[in-house]
Symmetry: C2
Subunit: 297 residues, 2 copies
Protein backbone atom coordinates (compact mmCIF):
# COMPACT_ATOMS: atom_id res chain seq x y z
CA UNK A 1 0.00 0.00 0.00
CA UNK A 2 2.91 2.35 -0.55
CA UNK A 3 3.62 4.70 -3.37
CA UNK A 4 6.57 7.02 -3.78
CA UNK A 5 5.96 10.69 -4.29
CA UNK A 6 8.02 10.42 -7.43
CA UNK A 7 5.34 8.13 -8.83
CA UNK A 8 2.60 10.45 -7.67
CA UNK A 9 4.27 13.43 -9.32
CA UNK A 10 5.08 11.65 -12.55
CA UNK A 11 1.98 12.72 -14.46
CA UNK A 12 2.69 15.65 -16.72
CA UNK A 13 0.55 18.67 -17.50
CA UNK A 14 0.38 19.94 -13.93
CA UNK A 15 2.25 23.12 -14.61
CA UNK A 16 2.14 25.62 -17.45
CA UNK A 17 4.77 28.12 -18.48
CA UNK A 18 3.70 31.76 -18.80
CA UNK A 19 5.54 35.02 -19.44
CA UNK A 20 5.63 37.34 -16.46
CA UNK A 21 6.91 40.81 -15.71
CA UNK A 22 8.79 40.79 -12.41
CA UNK A 23 8.50 44.21 -10.75
CA UNK A 24 10.59 45.22 -7.74
CA UNK A 25 10.29 48.35 -5.64
CA UNK A 26 13.76 48.89 -4.15
CA UNK A 27 12.67 51.76 -1.92
CA UNK A 28 9.02 52.17 -0.96
CA UNK A 29 9.45 55.88 -0.27
CA UNK A 30 11.06 56.68 -3.62
CA UNK A 31 9.18 56.66 -6.91
CA UNK A 32 11.34 53.95 -8.41
CA UNK A 33 10.76 50.41 -9.65
CA UNK A 34 12.60 47.90 -11.78
CA UNK A 35 10.97 45.45 -14.16
CA UNK A 36 12.24 42.43 -16.05
CA UNK A 37 10.51 39.88 -18.21
CA UNK A 38 10.94 36.20 -17.42
CA UNK A 39 9.19 32.86 -17.68
CA UNK A 40 7.22 31.53 -14.72
CA UNK A 41 5.69 28.13 -13.99
CA UNK A 42 2.05 28.26 -12.95
CA UNK A 43 -0.15 25.52 -11.60
CA UNK A 44 -2.35 24.32 -14.44
CA UNK A 45 -6.09 24.74 -13.97
CA UNK A 46 -8.63 23.24 -16.37
CA UNK A 47 -12.25 22.14 -16.08
CA UNK A 48 -12.99 18.44 -15.60
CA UNK A 49 -16.45 17.12 -16.31
CA UNK A 50 -17.60 13.93 -14.58
CA UNK A 51 -20.32 11.92 -16.33
CA UNK A 52 -22.03 9.02 -14.61
CA UNK A 53 -23.90 6.46 -16.73
CA UNK A 54 -24.03 8.97 -19.56
CA UNK A 55 -25.39 11.89 -17.53
CA UNK A 56 -23.34 14.93 -16.60
CA UNK A 57 -22.95 14.98 -12.83
CA UNK A 58 -20.50 17.73 -11.97
CA UNK A 59 -17.77 19.98 -13.24
CA UNK A 60 -14.75 20.97 -11.23
CA UNK A 61 -11.84 23.27 -11.92
CA UNK A 62 -8.81 21.13 -11.25
CA UNK A 63 -5.12 20.66 -11.95
CA UNK A 64 -4.89 18.01 -14.69
CA UNK A 65 -3.55 14.63 -13.66
CA UNK A 66 -5.00 11.67 -11.78
CA UNK A 67 -8.37 12.51 -13.29
CA UNK A 68 -9.79 9.00 -13.00
CA UNK A 69 -8.80 8.99 -9.33
CA UNK A 70 -10.38 12.42 -8.91
CA UNK A 71 -13.67 11.18 -10.36
CA UNK A 72 -13.64 8.01 -8.25
CA UNK A 73 -12.85 9.93 -5.07
CA UNK A 74 -15.50 12.52 -5.81
CA UNK A 75 -18.11 9.76 -6.04
CA UNK A 76 -17.00 8.37 -2.67
CA UNK A 77 -17.29 11.84 -1.13
CA UNK A 78 -20.83 12.09 -2.45
CA UNK A 79 -21.75 8.71 -0.94
CA UNK A 80 -22.50 7.34 -4.40
CA UNK A 81 -19.63 4.84 -4.39
CA UNK A 82 -18.60 2.89 -1.29
CA UNK A 83 -15.97 0.60 -2.76
CA UNK A 84 -14.29 -0.51 -5.96
CA UNK A 85 -17.05 -2.97 -6.75
CA UNK A 86 -19.52 -0.11 -7.11
CA UNK A 87 -17.67 1.05 -10.24
CA UNK A 88 -18.06 -1.00 -13.42
CA UNK A 89 -15.77 1.16 -15.54
CA UNK A 90 -14.12 4.53 -15.94
CA UNK A 91 -12.47 6.15 -18.92
CA UNK A 92 -11.18 9.53 -19.97
CA UNK A 93 -13.00 10.93 -23.02
CA UNK A 94 -10.68 10.63 -26.01
CA UNK A 95 -12.88 12.57 -28.40
CA UNK A 96 -14.45 9.58 -30.14
CA UNK A 97 -16.17 7.47 -27.51
CA UNK A 98 -18.65 9.76 -25.84
CA UNK A 99 -21.13 10.36 -28.62
CA UNK A 100 -20.26 14.00 -29.28
CA UNK A 101 -18.87 14.71 -32.72
CA UNK A 102 -17.58 18.25 -32.50
CA UNK A 103 -14.87 18.03 -29.87
CA UNK A 104 -12.20 20.66 -29.64
CA UNK A 105 -8.74 19.99 -28.33
CA UNK A 106 -9.69 21.58 -25.02
CA UNK A 107 -12.21 18.91 -24.11
CA UNK A 108 -10.26 15.83 -24.96
CA UNK A 109 -8.90 14.49 -21.71
CA UNK A 110 -11.12 16.80 -19.69
CA UNK A 111 -14.10 14.49 -19.24
CA UNK A 112 -14.25 11.26 -17.25
CA UNK A 113 -17.02 8.81 -18.07
CA UNK A 114 -18.03 6.59 -15.17
CA UNK A 115 -20.19 3.48 -15.45
CA UNK A 116 -21.62 2.37 -12.12
CA UNK A 117 -22.09 -1.28 -11.24
CA UNK A 118 -25.63 -2.72 -11.54
CA UNK A 119 -27.73 -1.61 -8.58
CA UNK A 120 -25.59 1.45 -7.83
CA UNK A 121 -27.17 4.77 -8.74
CA UNK A 122 -26.99 8.48 -8.15
CA UNK A 123 -29.85 9.01 -5.75
CA UNK A 124 -31.60 12.28 -5.20
CA UNK A 125 -30.14 12.38 -1.71
CA UNK A 126 -26.64 11.89 -3.02
CA UNK A 127 -27.01 14.98 -5.14
CA UNK A 128 -27.55 17.28 -2.16
CA UNK A 129 -24.10 18.80 -2.54
CA UNK A 130 -24.73 19.95 -6.07
CA UNK A 131 -25.54 23.57 -6.39
CA UNK A 132 -28.79 23.62 -8.26
CA UNK A 133 -30.43 20.83 -6.32
CA UNK A 134 -29.01 21.26 -2.85
CA UNK A 135 -30.28 24.78 -2.43
CA UNK A 136 -33.87 23.56 -2.35
CA UNK A 137 -33.05 21.19 0.46
CA UNK A 138 -31.85 23.79 2.91
CA UNK A 139 -35.23 25.28 3.52
CA UNK A 140 -37.51 23.03 5.53
CA UNK A 141 -34.84 20.80 7.03
CA UNK A 142 -32.01 21.13 9.47
CA UNK A 143 -29.13 22.50 7.44
CA UNK A 144 -26.40 20.17 8.60
CA UNK A 145 -28.57 17.08 8.42
CA UNK A 146 -29.64 17.97 4.94
CA UNK A 147 -26.23 18.73 3.49
CA UNK A 148 -24.59 15.79 5.13
CA UNK A 149 -25.02 12.20 4.01
CA UNK A 150 -22.89 10.48 6.61
CA UNK A 151 -23.88 7.08 7.96
CA UNK A 152 -24.46 6.63 11.67
CA UNK A 153 -21.25 6.52 13.76
CA UNK A 154 -19.11 5.54 10.76
CA UNK A 155 -15.77 5.58 12.54
CA UNK A 156 -16.73 4.16 15.93
CA UNK A 157 -14.96 0.88 15.26
CA UNK A 158 -11.58 2.43 14.52
CA UNK A 159 -9.69 2.82 17.78
CA UNK A 160 -6.24 3.45 16.32
CA UNK A 161 -3.98 5.41 18.68
CA UNK A 162 -1.89 8.14 17.02
CA UNK A 163 1.30 9.36 18.72
CA UNK A 164 1.61 13.16 18.98
CA UNK A 165 5.29 13.04 17.98
CA UNK A 166 4.33 11.09 14.84
CA UNK A 167 1.61 13.63 13.99
CA UNK A 168 4.04 16.53 14.49
CA UNK A 169 6.37 14.95 11.92
CA UNK A 170 3.78 14.84 9.13
CA UNK A 171 3.79 18.45 7.81
CA UNK A 172 7.52 18.23 7.18
CA UNK A 173 7.06 14.98 5.28
CA UNK A 174 4.28 16.48 3.19
CA UNK A 175 6.29 19.58 2.33
CA UNK A 176 9.31 17.48 1.39
CA UNK A 177 7.15 15.59 -1.08
CA UNK A 178 5.61 18.69 -2.63
CA UNK A 179 7.85 19.12 -5.56
CA UNK A 180 5.24 20.84 -7.70
CA UNK A 181 4.43 23.26 -4.92
CA UNK A 182 8.02 24.41 -4.72
CA UNK A 183 7.98 25.30 -8.40
CA UNK A 184 4.61 27.05 -8.63
CA UNK A 185 3.62 28.10 -5.12
CA UNK A 186 0.02 27.61 -6.09
CA UNK A 187 -1.03 24.09 -5.18
CA UNK A 188 -2.82 22.60 -2.24
CA UNK A 189 -1.58 19.21 -1.08
CA UNK A 190 -3.17 16.25 0.65
CA UNK A 191 -1.16 13.37 2.05
CA UNK A 192 -2.28 9.99 3.33
CA UNK A 193 -0.19 8.42 6.11
CA UNK A 194 -0.44 5.18 8.05
CA UNK A 195 -0.42 5.06 11.85
CA UNK A 196 3.39 4.79 11.84
CA UNK A 197 3.59 8.11 9.97
CA UNK A 198 4.65 6.62 6.64
CA UNK A 199 3.48 8.48 3.54
CA UNK A 200 1.17 6.26 1.47
CA UNK A 201 0.12 8.76 -1.20
CA UNK A 202 0.27 12.46 -1.94
CA UNK A 203 -1.79 14.50 -4.40
CA UNK A 204 -1.76 18.19 -5.28
CA UNK A 205 -4.30 20.43 -6.93
CA UNK A 206 -5.36 24.05 -7.26
CA UNK A 207 -8.42 22.94 -5.25
CA UNK A 208 -7.96 21.46 -1.77
CA UNK A 209 -11.06 19.29 -2.18
CA UNK A 210 -9.72 17.94 -5.48
CA UNK A 211 -6.45 16.90 -3.84
CA UNK A 212 -8.45 14.96 -1.24
CA UNK A 213 -10.70 13.42 -3.90
CA UNK A 214 -7.59 12.22 -5.76
CA UNK A 215 -6.24 10.56 -2.60
CA UNK A 216 -9.55 8.84 -1.85
CA UNK A 217 -9.93 7.85 -5.51
CA UNK A 218 -6.46 6.31 -5.50
CA UNK A 219 -7.51 4.27 -2.48
CA UNK A 220 -10.90 3.15 -3.77
CA UNK A 221 -9.47 2.05 -7.12
CA UNK A 222 -7.01 -0.12 -5.21
CA UNK A 223 -9.89 -1.47 -3.13
CA UNK A 224 -8.44 -0.07 0.09
CA UNK A 225 -11.58 1.51 1.58
CA UNK A 226 -12.22 2.04 4.43
CA UNK A 227 -8.86 3.67 5.18
CA UNK A 228 -8.79 2.45 8.79
CA UNK A 229 -5.83 3.55 10.86
CA UNK A 230 -4.84 6.32 8.43
CA UNK A 231 -4.25 10.04 8.80
CA UNK A 232 -5.18 12.49 6.06
CA UNK A 233 -3.16 15.71 6.19
CA UNK A 234 -4.18 18.79 4.20
CA UNK A 235 -1.91 21.74 3.60
CA UNK A 236 -4.43 24.48 4.37
CA UNK A 237 -7.46 24.64 6.57
CA UNK A 238 -10.15 22.03 7.28
CA UNK A 239 -13.66 22.74 6.02
CA UNK A 240 -16.94 20.93 6.55
CA UNK A 241 -16.50 19.43 3.10
CA UNK A 242 -13.14 17.85 3.88
CA UNK A 243 -14.44 16.33 7.11
CA UNK A 244 -17.25 14.72 5.15
CA UNK A 245 -14.87 13.33 2.55
CA UNK A 246 -12.55 11.90 5.22
CA UNK A 247 -15.41 10.23 7.09
CA UNK A 248 -16.88 8.66 3.94
CA UNK A 249 -13.45 7.23 3.12
CA UNK A 250 -13.23 5.69 6.59
CA UNK A 251 -10.27 7.83 7.65
CA UNK A 252 -10.25 8.20 11.46
CA UNK A 253 -7.96 11.26 11.73
CA UNK A 254 -8.00 14.43 9.62
CA UNK A 255 -5.18 16.89 10.26
CA UNK A 256 -4.78 20.39 8.86
CA UNK A 257 -1.84 22.75 8.96
CA UNK A 258 -4.23 25.66 9.46
CA UNK A 259 -7.55 26.17 11.24
CA UNK A 260 -10.78 24.21 10.95
CA UNK A 261 -14.12 25.97 10.59
CA UNK A 262 -16.75 25.71 13.29
CA UNK A 263 -18.88 23.41 11.15
CA UNK A 264 -15.90 21.17 10.44
CA UNK A 265 -15.37 20.74 14.18
CA UNK A 266 -19.07 20.13 14.80
CA UNK A 267 -19.41 17.52 12.06
CA UNK A 268 -16.18 15.80 13.14
CA UNK A 269 -17.52 15.55 16.69
CA UNK A 270 -20.80 14.13 15.45
CA UNK A 271 -19.16 11.59 13.13
CA UNK A 272 -16.53 10.45 15.63
CA UNK A 273 -13.63 11.74 13.52
CA UNK A 274 -10.48 12.94 15.25
CA UNK A 275 -9.89 16.46 13.92
CA UNK A 276 -6.47 18.04 14.42
CA UNK A 277 -5.80 21.65 13.41
CA UNK A 278 -2.84 24.04 13.52
CA UNK A 279 -0.47 21.07 13.17
CA UNK A 280 2.72 23.13 13.09
CA UNK A 281 6.11 22.82 14.68
CA UNK A 282 5.80 20.73 17.82
CA UNK A 283 2.19 21.38 18.66
CA UNK A 284 -1.38 20.87 17.48
CA UNK A 285 -4.99 21.50 18.50
CA UNK A 286 -7.36 18.54 18.81
CA UNK A 287 -10.93 19.65 18.12
CA UNK A 288 -12.71 16.31 18.34
CA UNK A 289 -12.04 12.64 19.08
CA UNK A 290 -9.09 13.24 21.46
CA UNK A 291 -9.21 9.58 22.58
CA UNK A 292 -7.24 8.64 19.46
CA UNK A 293 -4.39 11.01 20.30
CA UNK A 294 -2.17 8.95 22.56
CA UNK A 295 -0.77 11.22 25.28
CA UNK A 296 2.08 9.29 27.00
CA UNK A 297 1.49 8.98 30.74
CA UNK B 1 -16.96 55.51 -1.04
CA UNK B 2 -14.98 54.71 2.08
CA UNK B 3 -15.73 52.34 4.89
CA UNK B 4 -13.65 51.61 7.96
CA UNK B 5 -12.66 48.06 8.66
CA UNK B 6 -14.25 48.48 12.07
CA UNK B 7 -17.58 48.89 10.28
CA UNK B 8 -16.86 45.94 8.05
CA UNK B 9 -16.01 43.75 11.04
CA UNK B 10 -18.94 44.87 13.15
CA UNK B 11 -21.29 42.07 12.18
CA UNK B 12 -21.38 39.34 14.80
CA UNK B 13 -21.55 35.59 14.37
CA UNK B 14 -18.34 35.30 12.38
CA UNK B 15 -16.53 33.27 14.98
CA UNK B 16 -17.61 30.40 17.19
CA UNK B 17 -16.06 29.25 20.45
CA UNK B 18 -15.12 25.57 20.69
CA UNK B 19 -13.28 23.46 23.27
CA UNK B 20 -9.91 22.25 22.11
CA UNK B 21 -7.14 20.04 23.47
CA UNK B 22 -3.80 21.74 22.92
CA UNK B 23 -1.08 19.07 22.55
CA UNK B 24 2.63 19.90 22.58
CA UNK B 25 5.53 17.58 21.84
CA UNK B 26 8.51 19.08 23.72
CA UNK B 27 11.02 16.68 22.25
CA UNK B 28 10.29 14.88 18.99
CA UNK B 29 12.71 12.08 19.82
CA UNK B 30 11.23 11.33 23.22
CA UNK B 31 7.88 9.68 23.75
CA UNK B 32 6.46 12.63 25.65
CA UNK B 33 3.65 15.07 25.11
CA UNK B 34 1.69 17.54 27.18
CA UNK B 35 -1.98 18.32 26.75
CA UNK B 36 -4.24 21.02 28.13
CA UNK B 37 -7.85 21.90 27.48
CA UNK B 38 -8.74 25.42 26.47
CA UNK B 39 -11.27 27.41 24.47
CA UNK B 40 -10.52 28.37 20.88
CA UNK B 41 -12.19 30.75 18.46
CA UNK B 42 -13.00 29.20 15.08
CA UNK B 43 -14.22 30.86 11.93
CA UNK B 44 -17.94 30.18 11.67
CA UNK B 45 -19.08 28.21 8.62
CA UNK B 46 -22.75 27.75 7.76
CA UNK B 47 -24.68 27.09 4.53
CA UNK B 48 -26.33 30.02 2.79
CA UNK B 49 -29.03 29.39 0.24
CA UNK B 50 -29.70 32.01 -2.43
CA UNK B 51 -33.18 32.05 -3.96
CA UNK B 52 -33.99 34.16 -6.98
CA UNK B 53 -37.61 34.99 -7.77
CA UNK B 54 -38.70 32.09 -5.57
CA UNK B 55 -36.43 29.47 -7.12
CA UNK B 56 -33.39 28.04 -5.37
CA UNK B 57 -30.32 29.07 -7.32
CA UNK B 58 -27.29 28.05 -5.28
CA UNK B 59 -25.98 27.07 -1.89
CA UNK B 60 -22.62 28.10 -0.55
CA UNK B 61 -20.78 27.33 2.65
CA UNK B 62 -19.87 30.71 4.05
CA UNK B 63 -18.97 32.63 7.17
CA UNK B 64 -22.18 34.33 8.36
CA UNK B 65 -22.34 38.09 7.95
CA UNK B 66 -22.92 40.43 5.00
CA UNK B 67 -25.22 37.79 3.53
CA UNK B 68 -27.25 40.19 1.42
CA UNK B 69 -24.00 41.55 -0.02
CA UNK B 70 -22.81 38.00 -0.64
CA UNK B 71 -25.98 37.19 -2.59
CA UNK B 72 -25.79 40.42 -4.60
CA UNK B 73 -22.13 39.91 -5.42
CA UNK B 74 -22.70 36.30 -6.40
CA UNK B 75 -25.33 37.42 -8.91
CA UNK B 76 -22.88 39.92 -10.41
CA UNK B 77 -20.25 37.20 -10.71
CA UNK B 78 -22.75 35.04 -12.58
CA UNK B 79 -23.55 37.86 -15.00
CA UNK B 80 -27.17 37.86 -13.84
CA UNK B 81 -27.01 41.32 -12.24
CA UNK B 82 -25.08 44.22 -13.79
CA UNK B 83 -26.06 47.02 -11.45
CA UNK B 84 -28.26 47.95 -8.51
CA UNK B 85 -31.22 48.62 -10.75
CA UNK B 86 -31.31 44.94 -11.73
CA UNK B 87 -32.34 44.04 -8.17
CA UNK B 88 -35.90 44.85 -7.07
CA UNK B 89 -35.50 43.54 -3.54
CA UNK B 90 -33.48 41.30 -1.21
CA UNK B 91 -34.29 39.94 2.23
CA UNK B 92 -32.96 37.38 4.64
CA UNK B 93 -35.47 34.62 5.39
CA UNK B 94 -36.85 35.19 8.88
CA UNK B 95 -38.81 31.96 9.06
CA UNK B 96 -42.21 33.38 8.19
CA UNK B 97 -41.96 35.09 4.83
CA UNK B 98 -40.76 32.43 2.44
CA UNK B 99 -43.73 30.11 2.30
CA UNK B 100 -42.20 27.20 4.20
CA UNK B 101 -43.88 26.35 7.47
CA UNK B 102 -41.49 23.99 9.18
CA UNK B 103 -38.35 26.04 9.66
CA UNK B 104 -35.78 25.07 12.18
CA UNK B 105 -33.50 27.53 13.91
CA UNK B 106 -30.67 26.53 11.60
CA UNK B 107 -32.31 27.89 8.49
CA UNK B 108 -33.49 31.22 9.78
CA UNK B 109 -30.97 33.76 8.63
CA UNK B 110 -29.36 31.29 6.25
CA UNK B 111 -31.42 31.99 3.15
CA UNK B 112 -31.46 35.17 1.09
CA UNK B 113 -34.47 35.80 -1.13
CA UNK B 114 -33.73 37.96 -4.18
CA UNK B 115 -36.34 39.55 -6.41
CA UNK B 116 -34.95 40.66 -9.75
CA UNK B 117 -36.17 43.77 -11.52
CA UNK B 118 -38.66 43.30 -14.38
CA UNK B 119 -36.86 42.10 -17.49
CA UNK B 120 -33.91 40.65 -15.56
CA UNK B 121 -33.79 36.86 -15.44
CA UNK B 122 -31.56 33.91 -14.73
CA UNK B 123 -30.77 32.74 -18.23
CA UNK B 124 -29.66 29.25 -19.11
CA UNK B 125 -26.30 30.68 -20.05
CA UNK B 126 -25.90 32.37 -16.71
CA UNK B 127 -26.30 29.03 -14.99
CA UNK B 128 -23.27 27.51 -16.63
CA UNK B 129 -21.24 27.79 -13.43
CA UNK B 130 -23.66 25.63 -11.49
CA UNK B 131 -22.54 22.10 -11.08
CA UNK B 132 -25.40 20.08 -12.46
CA UNK B 133 -25.91 22.20 -15.53
CA UNK B 134 -22.41 23.32 -16.37
CA UNK B 135 -21.08 19.81 -16.78
CA UNK B 136 -23.14 19.28 -19.90
CA UNK B 137 -21.69 22.41 -21.42
CA UNK B 138 -18.08 21.32 -21.35
CA UNK B 139 -18.45 18.68 -24.00
CA UNK B 140 -18.92 20.09 -27.47
CA UNK B 141 -17.57 23.58 -26.89
CA UNK B 142 -14.28 25.20 -26.11
CA UNK B 143 -13.91 24.87 -22.36
CA UNK B 144 -13.00 28.45 -21.50
CA UNK B 145 -15.53 29.97 -23.84
CA UNK B 146 -18.23 27.79 -22.42
CA UNK B 147 -17.55 28.34 -18.76
CA UNK B 148 -16.91 32.00 -19.14
CA UNK B 149 -19.65 34.60 -19.65
CA UNK B 150 -17.49 37.66 -19.96
CA UNK B 151 -18.45 40.42 -22.37
CA UNK B 152 -16.05 41.44 -25.13
CA UNK B 153 -13.08 43.54 -23.93
CA UNK B 154 -14.89 44.61 -20.75
CA UNK B 155 -12.00 46.55 -19.25
CA UNK B 156 -10.50 48.14 -22.35
CA UNK B 157 -11.73 51.60 -21.39
CA UNK B 158 -10.04 51.65 -17.98
CA UNK B 159 -6.51 52.98 -18.39
CA UNK B 160 -5.79 53.65 -14.73
CA UNK B 161 -2.05 53.59 -13.93
CA UNK B 162 -1.11 51.84 -10.69
CA UNK B 163 2.18 52.66 -8.98
CA UNK B 164 4.28 49.62 -7.98
CA UNK B 165 5.12 51.18 -4.60
CA UNK B 166 1.40 51.64 -3.92
CA UNK B 167 0.69 48.02 -4.88
CA UNK B 168 3.49 46.79 -2.63
CA UNK B 169 1.88 48.57 0.31
CA UNK B 170 -1.50 46.80 -0.02
CA UNK B 171 -0.85 43.42 1.63
CA UNK B 172 0.27 45.17 4.83
CA UNK B 173 -2.88 47.26 4.83
CA UNK B 174 -5.05 44.19 4.30
CA UNK B 175 -3.37 42.27 7.12
CA UNK B 176 -3.70 45.22 9.48
CA UNK B 177 -7.43 45.25 8.85
CA UNK B 178 -7.89 41.50 9.32
CA UNK B 179 -8.93 41.46 12.93
CA UNK B 180 -10.96 38.28 12.58
CA UNK B 181 -8.11 36.49 10.88
CA UNK B 182 -5.77 37.21 13.77
CA UNK B 183 -8.20 35.55 16.18
CA UNK B 184 -9.09 32.45 14.17
CA UNK B 185 -6.39 31.95 11.53
CA UNK B 186 -8.97 30.48 9.27
CA UNK B 187 -10.37 33.21 7.08
CA UNK B 188 -9.60 34.39 3.58
CA UNK B 189 -9.71 38.14 3.04
CA UNK B 190 -10.47 40.35 0.08
CA UNK B 191 -9.82 44.08 0.09
CA UNK B 192 -10.88 46.76 -2.36
CA UNK B 193 -8.54 49.73 -2.80
CA UNK B 194 -8.67 52.86 -4.94
CA UNK B 195 -5.81 53.90 -7.22
CA UNK B 196 -4.21 55.86 -4.37
CA UNK B 197 -4.03 52.67 -2.30
CA UNK B 198 -6.78 53.63 0.15
CA UNK B 199 -8.83 50.75 1.56
CA UNK B 200 -12.47 51.09 0.49
CA UNK B 201 -13.84 47.83 1.88
CA UNK B 202 -12.63 44.53 3.34
CA UNK B 203 -14.51 41.26 3.73
CA UNK B 204 -13.48 37.91 5.17
CA UNK B 205 -14.87 34.42 4.75
CA UNK B 206 -13.93 30.75 4.99
CA UNK B 207 -14.27 30.79 1.19
CA UNK B 208 -12.12 33.11 -0.88
CA UNK B 209 -14.82 33.44 -3.54
CA UNK B 210 -17.35 34.42 -0.86
CA UNK B 211 -15.09 37.21 0.41
CA UNK B 212 -14.89 38.57 -3.13
CA UNK B 213 -18.66 38.20 -3.64
CA UNK B 214 -19.22 40.22 -0.44
CA UNK B 215 -16.96 43.01 -1.70
CA UNK B 216 -18.67 43.15 -5.08
CA UNK B 217 -22.09 42.92 -3.43
CA UNK B 218 -21.23 45.84 -1.16
CA UNK B 219 -20.34 47.84 -4.26
CA UNK B 220 -23.38 46.92 -6.34
CA UNK B 221 -25.80 47.70 -3.53
CA UNK B 222 -24.21 51.16 -3.31
CA UNK B 223 -24.55 51.49 -7.09
CA UNK B 224 -20.79 51.74 -7.55
CA UNK B 225 -20.34 49.32 -10.47
CA UNK B 226 -18.22 49.25 -12.53
CA UNK B 227 -15.37 49.59 -10.01
CA UNK B 228 -13.15 51.53 -12.41
CA UNK B 229 -9.72 52.44 -11.13
CA UNK B 230 -9.85 49.96 -8.26
CA UNK B 231 -7.58 47.14 -7.12
CA UNK B 232 -8.97 43.94 -5.61
CA UNK B 233 -6.48 42.15 -3.35
CA UNK B 234 -7.05 38.57 -2.21
CA UNK B 235 -5.12 36.93 0.60
CA UNK B 236 -4.41 33.64 -1.13
CA UNK B 237 -4.00 32.63 -4.73
CA UNK B 238 -5.90 33.78 -7.82
CA UNK B 239 -8.12 31.28 -9.59
CA UNK B 240 -10.04 31.43 -12.85
CA UNK B 241 -13.18 32.09 -10.80
CA UNK B 242 -11.78 35.18 -9.09
CA UNK B 243 -10.60 36.66 -12.38
CA UNK B 244 -14.11 36.27 -13.75
CA UNK B 245 -15.66 37.93 -10.71
CA UNK B 246 -13.23 40.87 -10.88
CA UNK B 247 -13.86 41.42 -14.58
CA UNK B 248 -17.65 41.33 -14.20
CA UNK B 249 -17.40 43.94 -11.43
CA UNK B 250 -15.34 46.17 -13.73
CA UNK B 251 -12.20 45.98 -11.56
CA UNK B 252 -9.11 46.60 -13.75
CA UNK B 253 -6.48 45.10 -11.41
CA UNK B 254 -6.63 41.86 -9.42
CA UNK B 255 -3.74 41.21 -7.05
CA UNK B 256 -3.02 38.06 -5.07
CA UNK B 257 -0.52 37.41 -2.31
CA UNK B 258 0.11 33.94 -3.74
CA UNK B 259 0.21 32.40 -7.22
CA UNK B 260 -2.38 32.53 -9.99
CA UNK B 261 -3.37 29.41 -11.89
CA UNK B 262 -2.62 29.09 -15.58
CA UNK B 263 -6.28 29.55 -16.48
CA UNK B 264 -6.50 32.66 -14.32
CA UNK B 265 -3.58 34.18 -16.25
CA UNK B 266 -5.08 33.14 -19.61
CA UNK B 267 -8.53 34.56 -18.85
CA UNK B 268 -7.03 37.78 -17.45
CA UNK B 269 -5.04 38.24 -20.65
CA UNK B 270 -8.14 37.64 -22.75
CA UNK B 271 -10.32 40.01 -20.72
CA UNK B 272 -7.75 42.79 -20.50
CA UNK B 273 -7.45 42.50 -16.70
CA UNK B 274 -4.14 43.35 -15.05
CA UNK B 275 -3.27 40.29 -12.95
CA UNK B 276 -0.61 40.62 -10.25
CA UNK B 277 0.59 37.61 -8.28
CA UNK B 278 3.10 36.99 -5.49
CA UNK B 279 2.53 40.50 -4.20
CA UNK B 280 4.87 40.18 -1.21
CA UNK B 281 7.49 42.41 0.36
CA UNK B 282 8.77 44.82 -2.25
CA UNK B 283 8.08 42.81 -5.38
CA UNK B 284 5.34 41.31 -7.51
CA UNK B 285 4.75 39.36 -10.73
CA UNK B 286 2.57 40.88 -13.44
CA UNK B 287 0.93 38.11 -15.48
CA UNK B 288 -1.26 40.20 -17.79
CA UNK B 289 -2.05 43.82 -18.61
CA UNK B 290 1.35 45.26 -17.63
CA UNK B 291 0.48 48.60 -19.27
CA UNK B 292 -1.45 49.56 -16.12
CA UNK B 293 1.57 49.02 -13.86
CA UNK B 294 3.38 52.36 -14.02
CA UNK B 295 7.10 51.72 -14.03
CA UNK B 296 8.84 55.09 -13.36
CA UNK B 297 11.29 55.99 -16.13
Amino acid sequence: MTETWQEAMAVSGRTARRRVLRVTVPDAAADRATASARADLLAAEEPLGIRVDGTALTLTMRTPGDDVELAAGFLVGEAIVRGRDDIAGMKVCDGTSCGHLDHTDDEIGNIVDVTLAPGVAVSTGARRNFMTTSACGVCGKTSIDDICVLPQAPLSGDETAFAPAMLASLPGKLRAAQRVFSSTGGLHAAGLFNAAGELLAIREDVGRHNAVDKIVGWAVLQDKLPLAGCTLLVSGRASFELVQKAVLAGIPLLAAVSAPSSLAADLAEEAGLTLVGFLRGQSMNVYSGPHRVAIPA
